[in-house]
Symmetry: C2
């Protein structure tokens, strides 16, 4: 029967030793067979980055009943690509799950997130994929309240699948009093005051990344940032077809001479 259980590939961007990925595996292991391949060092903010200019490597860390764990020197996206190519061999996972991230990946953070790098890669490979993130950066963040929702959402996707080119970005507010799930749109907004002047040395100016997020659409109850601010689990469906269809027709009038 073991082989009939769903196969779930897990990765993240905080690295293999983070609490968030251990908690995620704990929540998932009764739902299927779990294979983890995660970065050997923290890779927050890795987005969909690839390692193109040097080889990467992976190693088996441990194999328990239903859970096999590998570490990988590559990015989160590399981890997915390499696991599919090597340790999973002919077996195609039923689901790819990333997280649980230590920190908020709602709104524009979807573009910078290595957690969502995992998810986007899974989606591009045609495999249903979900990223989970908690709005708490601390290494010892409390993920306990996320458990029932992780299991509910994963079970739903295992049962129903996801349409082609779509995946899920799930964010939890940092509270034990979760009010339930809201299906959300990506909030509009942007990061401001993003750099702290760190030092000058000769002609070189050093800066450290910091920043404050400004929600430019704060009263919009449809968006994920609003849901988090109001105690809901924010489930944002994400597309990997980033064509701006709205602009397609308009732009065809811009260069009329060149169109056949």
């Amino acid at each position: 029967m073991e082989n009939q259980r769903p196969l779930i590939l897990v990765s993240n961007d905080d690295g293999i030793i983070s609490k968030g990925i251990s908690e995620l595996v704990k929540f998932l292991r009764t739902l299927g067979e779990v294979v983890v391949m995660a970065p050997d060092t923290p890779r927050s903010g890795a987005a969909c980055a690839l390692t193109t200019n040097e080889p990467i490597h992976y190693q088996l860390l441990r194999k328990d009943v239903g859970v096999t764990v590998y570490k990988c020197s590559g990015t989160p996206t590399d981890c997915v690509k390499l696991a599919l190519h090597t340790v999973l061999g002919e077996r195609r996972p039923d689901l790819i799950v990333a997280g649980i991230n230590h920190g908020d990946n709602s709104s524009v953070n979807v573009h910078y997130s290595g957690t969502m790098g995992v998810v986007i890669e899974g989606c591009l490979k045609g495999i249903p994929s979900i990223g989970f993130s908690l709005c708490n950066h601390q290494p010892d963040a409390d993920f306990e309240a996320c458990g029932p929702y992780v299991r509910q959402i994963v079970s739903a996707v295992l049962e129903k699948g996801l349409p082609p080119l779509t995946c899920l970005n799930v964010n939890f507010p940092n509270t034990r009093e979760l009010k339930g799930i809201r299906i959300c749109e990506q909030a509009k907004g942007q990061w401001e005051n993003e750099w702290e002047n760190f030092a000058h040395r000769g002609d070189a100016h050093y800066y450290w990344m910091t920043g404050e997020f400004r929600d430019t659409d704060a009263d919009n109850e449809r968006n994920d940032h609003w849901a988090l601010a109001n105690g809901y689990v924010a489930v944002t469906p994400v597309t990997v077809d980033v064509t701006a269809y709205g602009l397609l027709k308009e732009m065809k009038d811009w260069f009329p001479v060149n169109e056949e």
Copy 2:
């Protein structure tokens, strides 16, 4: 009058010493005042990655009439964020341009591309942004045929702007015989056979990234990969709002108990 010329911020992912960015600056300098801040090393495949775990630094390299050049130790996305925060000061660029990339950024490559990392960051900051790429990876690629199209597209965007949350991904086929511009959708497709077994050392398995792109929608004349294969300049409008709106309504029925 100098101050009334458009201000154009330029970056890339191949790094400050690549031929592609020099050619781009050559094509742009008569259209406006150009400020370059580009990575000091190659950053291909950087996507929208950020440097979050160490400080980054920038340095002035040279200042000519109408062209000022800085190098930066960060990612392509860092370059945009840092230039806006530091060397541009109170001045907001009229346009952000990335490239010209040595290599194809059409189809799913939009997700991995550091060139498009520059463009997406500009777009998230509300500044019209365009990425240019040539389907030729060679360091001495011939960009000459791109020039008139770069200038035509940049001029059009300086005149008309771009709608909020949208930017452009422009790809050139590797030919001097360009057939004109086509406004395209992002091609469906995926990378396969992505890893070359490089070595084993102890328990560690080393792999080098490689791969072949398979266009799963090859006959679709609307897509950017088709346009490139047929000698056209592919202009793909891209959105940074990645909400899968098509799935929003359907998903609301998945978790009815939790909705208020």
